[in-house]
Amino acid sequence: MSDSRDVQSGLSEKRAHEILRHEFETAGLEIQEDFPFSEGGISIVLDGFDPKQRVGYEFVTTEAGDRESVTPAIIQALECRMEDGGLFVLLVDEFEVMTEDALVFAASRFVDHLRVRGVIR
């Protein structure tokens, strides 16, 4: 997802989850943390997911060992499903989003985008 690994992210895994959960729940989603998603050959534990609205998020960090489990193949498979509109998972690489403000911006614009598309009410 990202090659900018030389720069240290200032955002911890824990804090990132708090922000994401807050933004998604403010948008009316019912988030379940560490959701085991297994469909169509994709098997992944998502950091947060609303199974009814099929919207969630995954914060990929080295700290959590995500780079071994969230492989390019899994990302590609997820993205295929998202292109079909089957589900929507905000994919956040710790090296792309380095600050709280940036994460709030990304999460809030993402849920806005879904609202405009009619994916969430």
Partner: protein
């Protein structure tokens, strides 16, 4: 009636007094040790000066005849084979050749035309280029952003931009794009900025390539000017450098010669003889002073420190109640608190006097280095036993029949030597003398 025994209060009183006295002696010895360092440093400088005097007298110039003569005289054929005059001439030729080459080079020859500040051809071309590139440089700077590279690579703002909205980088790019657009004041799309930016980059690349060439030309010319200046400095110092090398080589050789060999080499004329004696004498003074320090001063300091430690220990011991009624026989008491301190004081005084005597010696002209001769006796006028010094002891062992006779080291040579040496010694040197 004189007491036959002393009591604990007598003992403690005497011990404290003695401790105070020893501390004062220790301070004195520590000061003497510091003085020793200063003196030795000064003697090293004087030795160096004396050596310089000798080699300068032996090698007044670098002519081959001079080098030949001194090499033969000193038994130092390496001075000839090192060929300092030859090396010097070789270096001179090379530097003159290189200097001529530089002066003929257009970059040097036309330096004013090319590099004169303000009016030089290169200077003006660079200034012009800097002016032309400025608007592009300003635009590129205006666009600077940590994510600019990502935006350009991903084609942000163009139809080719394919980053999907479910990737956080989509929003990071969006935010970065907005921040850049904001800097332009007037309403602009990022696509327009992108095109202007890429165009400016290309323009800068072209100008900067030319600028690098021009700056390299300027540097090459400046480097030549510096090199020529260095060559000319080196030429100006050529003779003194090689003369210095020859003298240093000779000095190193002479330093390793035994005293009698040195005397043979340098007794040709009173002036040189006196220089040799001064040099050898200063070397001996340094050696002797170091021996006095290591064999006398330092052990005395260690002994006093140990005595003070013992006194402290005894004061503590006899201060205990159970020792209150201890008595001390008069003879032992006197030995410890009167006789021993007196001997120690004498020893210290003698050591200081010996150190001062050796350091203060300056009658180098009285030495007779060709005979069986001991500097120690000359310096101390035969009055002080120097057998604690290995060299002195070894001399006596090798010369069992030797006795010092003052009159054999007269000042007969002094008059002619002092006339020959314009800056000779001769005046009495104070005990804390300054360097020659």
């Amino acid at each position: 009636m004189t007491a036959q025994v002393y009591t604990v209060p007598d003992f403690i009183g005497a011990a404290r007094q003695q401790k105070q006295s020893l501390q004062s002696d220790l301070t004195r010895l520590e000061q003497q040790a510091q003085l020793h360092e200063q003196r030795v440093k000064e003697l090293h400088q004087r030795s160096s000066n004396a050596e310089n005097e000798i080699v300068a007298a032996l090698v007044p110039n670098l002519e081959r005849a001079t080098i030949q003569a001194v090499a033969n005289r000193c038994g130092f054929p390496a001075l000839i084979s090192k060929d300092f005059p030859g090396q010097m001439e070789k270096e001179r030729r090379e530097r003159q050749q290189r200097s001529a080459q530089i002066q003929a080079e257009p970059r040097y020859r036309d330096r004013k035309l090319l590099r004169d500040p303000g009016v030089g051809k290169l200077t003006r071309a660079i200034a012009e280029l800097m002016e032309f590139r400025q608007p592009s440089a300003d635009l590129v700077k205006k666009c600077e952003h940590p994510r600019l590279g990502n935006l350009i690579a991903a084609g942000y703002g163009t139809p080719e931009y394919k980053v999907p909205f479910w990737r956080a980088s989509y929003y990071a790019n969006w935010k970065a794009g907005d921040e850049i657009i904001e800097r332009f004041g007037e309403k602009k799309e990022f696509l327009e900025i992108r095109l202007e930016y890429l165009d400016a980059l290309k323009t800068l690349q072209t100008y900067d390539m030319k600028l690098s060439e021009l700056q390299a030309e300027v540097k090459a010319g400046e480097d030549l000017e510096k090199e020529l200046a260095n060559q000319q400095d080196a030429l100006a110092s050529l003779e003194s450098r090689y003369l210095g090398l020859a003298r240093a080589a000779l000095g190193e050789y002479l330093r390793d010669l035994p005293q009698d060999a040195l005397a043979e080499v340098l007794t040709d004329g009173p002036a040189l003889g006196l220089m040799a004696k001064r040099w050898a004498g200063i070397s001996k003074q340094t050696q002797y002073l170091d021996s006095i320090k290591s064999q006398q001063l330092d052990p005395l300091r260690a002994r006093i420190q140990e005595d003070i430690r013992r006194l402290d220990s005894d004061i503590t011991k006899y201060s205990r109640p159970k020792k209150a009624f201890t008595t001390f026989p008069k003879d032992k008491f006197h030995q410890r608190f009167i006789e021993r301190p007196q001997k120690l004081r004498k020893h210290i005084d003698k050591t200081v006097v010996v150190h001062n005597t050796v350091y203060g010696f300056d009658q180098y002209q009285r030495a007779n280095m060709v005979q069986n001769f001991l500097w120690w006796d000359l310096m101390t006028d035969g009055r002080i036993d120097g057998n604690f010094i290995p060299e002195v002891r070894s001399f006596h062992e090798s010369n069992p029949g030797y006795t010092y006779h003052r009159e054999r080291f007269s000042d007969d040579d002094f008059a002619s030597a002092s006339a020959a040496v314009s800056s000779g010694a001769g005046a009495g040197r104070p005990l804390l003398g300054d360097a020659s």
